[in-house]
């Protein structure tokens, strides 16, 4: 069983829940057959709108990742590609460390680095306007 948390990040709450399930599956914390917390449990621990939890679970259901069983609960039904194994992760991290050193050498401070990273990760902020 996983426990959800919410951050004040500008990411809608339902999406945060969806992402946390994705992440838990990718990290192997959740496996097919595992049960997600009930809506009532999530509401009780996070003090959030039950409709938000339902929306998250519906989306996961549509994605085919979980399966709601009436009167029983919501269960993980599908595995997701795992986050790279330890070795790969180490290699990625060391490449990132090298890049950070270059960025600092070029005179970028932490804020500038974070901006550059965010900008590259989600490029056209413009296209997100509904």
């Amino acid at each position: 069983m996983i426990q959800f948390h919410l951050a004040r990040s500008g990411v809608p709450a339902y999406l945060q829940l969806v992402q946390q399930v994705h992440q838990a599956i990718r990290l192997g914390v959740l496996k097919p057959g595992d049960q997600l917390p009930t809506v009532k449990e999530v509401v009780g621990t996070l003090t959030i709108n039950p409709n938000t939890v339902l929306r998250a679970y519906n989306q996961l259901d549509l994605e085919g990742i979980v399966e709601g069983r009436r009167g029983v609960g919501t269960f993980v039904s599908q595995d997701l590609a795992p986050i790279p194994p330890d070795d790969d992760r180490k290699a990625l991290r060391s490449a990132l460390e090298k890049w950070l050193a270059r960025a600092r050498a070029a005179g970028l401070d932490d804020e500038a680095i974070a901006m550059l990273f965010d900008d590259t990760l989600r490029p056209p902020a413009v296209s997100k306007v509904a």
């Binding site: 809608p12 509401v43 709108n49 039950p50 409709n51 938000t52 509904a130």
Partner: protein, 294 residues
Amino acid sequence: MSTAIRTDGLGKRYGSTWALRDCTLEVPAGSVTALVGPNGAGKTTLLKLAVGLTRPNAGSLEVLGRVPLDDEGELMPKIGFVAQDHPLYMGFSVSEMLTLGRKLNPTWNDDVARRRIERLRLPLDRKVGKLSGGQQAQVALTLALAKQPELLILDEPVASLDPLARREFMNTVMEAVSENEMTVLLSSHIVADLERVCDHLVILGEGRTLLAGVIDEIVASHRLLTGPSTDDDVVTRMHDVIRATHTKRQTTLLVRANGHVYDASWELHEVDLEEIVLAYLGYGVDREFEAMAS
């Protein structure tokens, strides 16, 4: 989705002053809707009209498909209402308050009431007046919930509570929503944390509806644009400008975006709900700009 509350051009006048005017809105059934606005915006008036404590002077109002005051006998058992400052009989014990609730409400569920009081660890023999503000609020909420209402109306339920009591109160409300099919309409002048518990929002200002909709959609469609102060014609023609502030070099616009913003000379930022609400209520309006424009 069906509608729990529907108003059309609703107005209420006290003497020569309109407390609520030309108010048109819908509260979807099953939603948790926040009614926000500054003090004096007409929030309490709207809620009082909805529960039939007063009669409108203009427009129409339907609650759960009925007209308050005209269908009182049918409607009242279906509405739970916690008034501002959650009034209770201070000289009554918690247990006596529950007895009163049971005797006054035909749809009362005594099990629900006692279970909640037990879970809150409130002593039944304690006088209500001796309880903390947060506990009193919980007792008032318990009375409203034990009616098993279809519609729960809360007027500034957490305004007088500390952050912990606020959270506990909303926790009880959210749990009740997850257990029963219920519509909640709550008024608040505190916008922080509403995003967590509410899915719909109505902004009232000076007695009128300024904005109403699904919170996620509201947040997704508003953007803060900053750019050179020379030329905002294109942007203002395409999008609804909610708030504009100008300095000599820079213009900042909070807009409701109609489609994409392509103009590369504008920098785009996301805005949170609180900032959007404040913009609609007119805080931070640049008076100089208004003078220039006219």
